[in-house]
């Protein structure tokens, strides 16, 4: 059947050209073509995460709807000029109103509100994601050519965003920005704190009196730097910490980091743009630990070589892209004692192999500033020091512990830094086998009050390492990844070093 289409009067003889049609279609088409042709990035530095990869299509993935979901994520993640667009939308959001009293509050609806009943099954989920631990920057000792140094900064693929968020898991009240300083508002729940304390008590019970057990819960910046009028927006971390300490059994010492930090709040103890404390904040906590453990702390004014990394913009900035935070900025101070130290790392899914590692990864820059401390999180990092006193300590921590651990170098011959999220073997056996003297649990108030972390402590005690089951496809994928030169060279080198060490 033939249908006649009438011509619009305006279209006749090009009287009024349909320039709007052409322009609009051209804009859409041009952007579309650009989106297909542009080179696609794999990681987003701004968000510190791997971007969604391009999915492979198969009948199965199409009919399950997996392909379209994955492709949506991939396309949105790799859209041309995405970083610019995201930054632009953040700045638009910032100008949707007035910044009264120099205060801005961003909601925390997306942050999980965890309850003590939460199943302990989470860690498995975490562990099942192979990318996470491997994405550490590798050792730089063996690389000295300038080009290797350069490429290294690119290779700093980022440590686990989900876990980073988990560190601020009880962040249900959102982010408070005051005069350019970002603070996570604390919504901690005392009943989780009870689980946390009980789980620590269990270690004392298991290990007996031969191992001294300490617990140090560290307050975060919201506790000290919220303006008076807004104090009650954040639950009291002091009360939360006290309630945890009250639940510790007799053999476990609660370390009063709170009191030590409180006396120095006019110093630079917390970052403006990151949810972590600074090295200086960790120093004061270290003095409190020294008092509890019975040794004399070094003097921050005279006993360390102080270095700093400038232009640090941390997690809170990345989350908010707030202009005032960016203006204020941060630097990362780190303190090197005059004692030799060599670190070794245990990577994910290789719990019995140690590679050489660094205590201070001095090549980090920009948004990776906090990685200067131990170069991020790993299942276990061992530091052998020149302090030949035969003493050893296990520090069980999340990322807050990283800034703290180097201060222990002058006091212990062996320091074992265990990340409560990634450690894969039995911690109790580990402590017994290594003849450890002291055991310190170090957490910030948010993680101590987060079910995931609290439950993890219990799980670590007697867990048995099970190598991940690999389908043929997966192991091939892993092999192909291992073939990438950046891993291969370093690993071979390091295996050699490890043999020397034994």
């Amino acid at each position: 059947m033939h249908i006649k289409e009438k011509r619009e009067p305006g279209r006749r003889k090009g009287k009024s050209r349909p320039w709007q049609m052409v322009l609009f279609t051209a804009v859409l088409t041009a952007v579309g073509i650009a989106s297909l042709l542009f080179e696609k990035p794999n990681v987003s530095e701004m968000e510190q995460r791997d971007l969604a990869p391009k999915p492979a299509i198969s009948w199965q993935s199409w009919f399950k709807g997996d392909f379209s979901k994955a492709f949506d994520a991939y396309y949105a993640d790799t859209f041309p000029m995405r970083d610019f667009l995201v930054a632009f939308s953040s700045s638009v959001k910032e100008s949707l109103g007035i910044r009264y009293d120099d205060i801005r509050i961003l909601g925390g609806a997306d942050a999980p509100v965890e309850t003590p009943d939460e199943p302990v099954s989470q860690p498995e989920q975490v562990l099942s994601q192979p990318e996470q631990i491997l994405s550490q920057p590798e050792e730089s000792l063996s690389q000295d050519s300038p080009s290797a140094q350069e490429s290294k900064t690119e290779e700093i693929v980022f440590s686990q965003p989900q876990e980073e968020e988990d560190d601020i898991g009880v962040n249900k009240n959102g982010i408070f920005i005051y005069k350019g300083m970002g603070m996570s508002l604390f919504g901690g729940n005392a009943s989780v704190g009870k689980v946390y304390a009980d789980n620590i008590n269990a270690y004392h019970h298991a290990l007996g009196d031969s191992v001294r057990v300490f617990d140090m819960v560290v307050p975060t910046s919201a506790e000290f730097y919220l303006p008076e009028k807004y104090k009650k927006l954040s639950n009291s971390e002091k009360d939360a910490i006290q309630s945890i300490y009250k639940n510790l059994s007799d053999g476990v010492t609660g370390v009063d980091a709170y009191g030590a930090i409180r006396q120095h709040t006019d110093e630079y103890l917390y970052f403006n743009t990151d949810h972590h404390w600074t090295g200086r904040g960790a120093y004061w906590a270290y003095t409190a630990f020294a008092e509890a453990a019975g040794f004399t702390p070094l003097d921050i004014g005279s006993d360390y070589t102080v270095k700093q990394i400038d232009n640090f913009l941390g997690s809170l900035y990345r989350q908010t892209q707030d202009s005032k935070m960016r203006e204020k900025g941060d630097y990362v101070e780190y303190f090197i004692p005059d004692v030799a130290a060599q670190a070794y790392i245990v990577q994910k899914d290789q719990p019995y192999v140690k590679y050489k590692w660094t205590v201070w990864e001095e090549s980090v820059s920009g948004s990776n500033g906090y990685l200067v401390f131990l170069c991020g999180d790993a299942p276990m990092i061992q530091i052998d020091t020149g302090t030949c006193n035969g003493k050893s300590i296990v520090v069980v921590k999340e990322s807050y512990g990283n800034a703290f651990v180097p201060f222990l170098i002058p006091h212990y011959e062996h320091i074992y830094v265990v990340d409560e999220r990634y450690f894969q073997t039995s911690l109790v056996e580990f402590i017994q086998q290594n003849g450890v003297n002291d055991l310190l649990f170090l957490n910030n108030a948010f993680s101590a009050m987060t079910g995931y972390h609290a439950n993890n402590l219990k799980k670590l005690m007697y867990q048995v390492y099970v190598p991940p089951e690999q389908t043929e496809e997966e192991s091939q994928a892993q092999n192909s990844r291992a073939e990438e030169p950046k891993w291969q060279g370093v690993q071979e080198d390091d295996i050699g070093n490890e043999d020397d060490d034994e």
Partner: protein, 470 residues
């Protein structure tokens, strides 16, 4: 797929426009629309696209039979068969879980609860094909002879997944033959960009606020926070749904289809009765024409008819009892208004009727929002002052100030200022160049909106439409 999605905006849409306009051959154009619609639907429902095809196919034949045997038993049988099949599909996929759960709760039995995932848009397209068969049966529309044209009507992606419910007779002429040209195209683009802006720039942000205040621990929610939260949901659902309708109407117009309006500034209504003449018009008129009037309308047992209609309206919105409650709530308001309340409202100054309607609607959205009835109860307590956390909170104060301009724009956006301004502008005597300037300005504004929405979408990986599950 959804419209507020970068793939849709920059791959699907330009490809669709280019292929559509590449020739004037109507068969090609219809084919392009069908192919893109199927792809659009299959992107989100790769399996249940079969259901769409099934529904369209049986109702094509139902329509043919109704016309061929008009007035005879065969026509009636086709009508009954269409109703049974369509409502049966809806019943199985949408309501079977709710039904069995309710039976289990009432009788204490433990029948296995069927867990079908609801195919996207099923509530919309089954209603479209039902309306078609009924219209043909009643002789109010001619049956479509061409299967493909009928299929195009059912599957048209602009309205496929979230309405409006387009009646066959409203678009039958355009299905046969339609004009496309600059006027429609430009107006279509404008309409689309407006809808996109409503969705991405207002509804999504309002939705973030709503979930911040409504999804948390209700015992920590202040009364002011509760009002803010539910007002944000009030904004979200309006801008989301009307934005979607705008985008649908705009897209259809790009291809020469003229859909009826689905929203007409509902929040300026002065009664619940008026509100439902302005809110989701295509649904209200569906129930009016195919349920209420056939049952007897206002001639026989009107209140009973109204109750049934509102029960069904509520139930249509979702397989959960709170939606039924929400529907009956509006039913009760409408009945009260018909009984005497409208006459009272008319005697009072206008401000009272506006306040009454806004209050009634906001309370209604509380029923709509909380699928968990015990949470709803607690929320209503907080809303009316029984909050454990006090009446006011300083955090809300900061949030309000931090987002003051956006709030003002969103609230003003509920008022019919744009049509009012356009009317005034057109009443002015303007020199010739003014209309050119107008064209340029309008295009510029569309591109600005598109750019803003692109920026906002770029940072958002997950962006589902609220009305998808209805």
């Amino acid at each position: 797929m959804v419209f507020s999605n970068l793939i849709f905006l920059y791959l699907f849409l330009p490809a669709n426009i280019l292929l559509y306009y590449i020739t004037r051959n109507p068969a090609w154009r219809n084919g392009v629309l069908i192919a893109f619609s199927l792809f659009f639907y299959a992107w989100g429902e790769p399996v249940w696209v079969t259901l769409l095809i099934f529904s369209a196919t049986i109702d094509y034949f139902h329509g043919r039979i109704c016309e061929k045997y008009a007035g005879r038993w065969q026509a009636k049988a086709a009508l009954v068969s269409s109703l049974v099949l369509n409502l049966g599909l809806l019943g199985i996929f949408k309501y079977s879980g709710m039904l069995v759960e309710s039976i289990n709760t009432l009788t204490g039995s433990s029948l296995p609860v069927p867990a079908f995932s609801l195919p996207i848009g099923i509530s919309f397209y089954t209603f479209q094909t039902i309306s078609y068969v009924i219209d043909v049966y009643r002789g109010q529309a001619r049956a479509q002879k061409s299967y493909w044209r009928f299929f195009m009507y059912v599957s048209m992606y602009p309205q496929l997944v979230a309405g409006p419910i387009v009646r066959y007779k409203d678009v039958s002429a355009q299905i046969e033959s339609r004009q496309t040209g600059r006027e429609d195209f430009v107006k279509g683009i404008s309409r689309f960009c407006t809808g996109l802006g409503k969705k991405v720039l207002i509804a999504n942000l309002a939705g973030d606020f709503a979930s911040q205040y409504l999804d948390g621990d209700l015992s920590a929610l202040t009364t002011a926070g509760a009002w803010f939260g539910i007002l944000m949901f009030t904004l979200q659902i309006y801008f989301d749904f009307s934005g979607y309708s705008d985008m649908a109407i705009g897209l259809a117009r790009l291809f020469g289809f003229h859909y009826v309006e689905n929203f007409n500034y509902p929040y300026i209504s002065r009664s619940a009765t008026e509100f439902w003449r302005r809110w989701h018009i295509s649904l209200g008129s569906f129930f009016r024409d195919y349920v209420y009037i056939p049952m007897g309308g206002n001639r026989r047992h009107q209140f009973w008819n109204l109750l049934v209609v509102w029960f069904l309206t509520g139930l249509w919105h979702g397989a959960s009892w709170n939606f039924v409650l929400w529907g009956l709530y509006f039913g009760a308001l409408v009945i009260l208004e018909k009984w005497f309340f409208l006459r009272v409202l008319e005697k009072l100054p206008r401000i009272f009727s506006h306040l009454y309607l806004i209050f009634a609607v906001v309370i209604g959205w509380s029923l709509f929002y909380f699928t968990d009835l015990s949470r709803l109860g607690r929320f209503l307590q907080v809303l009316f002052g029984a909050s454990g956390a006090g009446l006011w909170d300083v955090q809300l104060e900061v949030v309000l100030i931090n987002n003051l301009f956006w709030l003002a724009i969103a609230l003003v956006g509920c008022l019919p200022l744009v049509p009012w301004g356009k009317k005034k502008w057109q009443m002015l005597s303007r020199p010739k160049w003014a209309s050119r300037l107008e064209n340029c300005a309008s295009m510029g504004w569309d591109l600005v909106l598109l750019f803003l929405c692109t920026a906002f979408l770029a940072g958002q990986s997950y962006n589902p439409f609220l009305y998808f599950r209805f």
